[in-house]
Amino acid sequence: MIDNNLRVERAIKRISQAQLAEAIGVSRQTIFAIENNKFVPSTELALKLSSYFGKTVNELFWIAD
């Protein structure tokens, strides 16, 4: 299972799901689904997210035990 700290990073940046969704070019449902581990994003979207937060993909997403 892949886990992420998107919610934490978003809270640090103080942006809403809608703002993040708009910046990345996806729907708010997608951000909600990723944060709640209901959906694993594609490599392209993971790279976009990591670049937006200035982190590496590994810092945002990891395989949970």
């Binding site: 809403s16 799901q17 809608a18 070019g25 996806v26 729907s27 708010r28 449902q29 997608t30 951000i31 909600f32 689904a33 990723i34 709640n36 959906f39 994003p41 594609s42 392209e44 979207l45």
Partner: protein, 154 residues
């Protein structure tokens, strides 16, 4: 996005809705003008009206089903894929039941009963109904997801 999308552009949904509306009107007119009130020489006209209505209804549904949503992305595509999977399973089950029932009833029931059962099954496998069920599942899931995302707004 590098992955090629085979879906039609979003505006095709409106074209589909228009086609469906015209198709529905044609079908309704066909329903009101009973064949018995038409002279034998005009039967072809009512046949064309029904055919046109049915084709437009099917094409309209197809256009809506195969068009992108306003903000189509990979998550929405995954919801679409899930809905398609459910519909494929539904069609498989109905078809399997149709064959099984046909094989069973053809031996034990009258031809009339068998024809009724066949028509019930063909109703459950017609294109507009399948498209409608698909849209209901897909749009229903999308609505639930949107609501959940709205509730979680922060």
């Amino acid at each position: 996005m590098n992955t090629k999308s085979y879906l039609l552009p979003h505006y095709c949904q409106n074209i589909g809705r228009g086609m469906m509306a015209i198709g529905a009107i044609c079908t309704l007119v066909y329903g009101f003008i009973e064949a018995e009130f038409i002279e034998a020489s005009q039967q072809w006209a009512i046949g064309i009206l029904f055919f046109l209505g049915w084709v437009l209804l099917c094409l309209g549904f197809m256009a809506i089903c195969l068009s992108q949503e306003e903000e189509e992305d990979e998550y929405i595509s995954s919801l679409r894929a899930r809905s398609v999977f459910i519909i494929v399973v539904y069609v498989f089950i109905v078809n399997m039941m149709q064959v099984a029932f046909a094989q069973f009833f053809i031996r034990f029931c009258s031809l009339e009963t068998n024809a009724t059962i066949q028509s019930i099954f063909s109703f459950f496998t017609n294109v507009p109904l399948i498209s409608f069920v698909y849209l209901a599942i897909f749009r229903g899931t999308l609505y639930i997801e949107k609501r959940k995302a709205r509730d979680d707004r922060q």
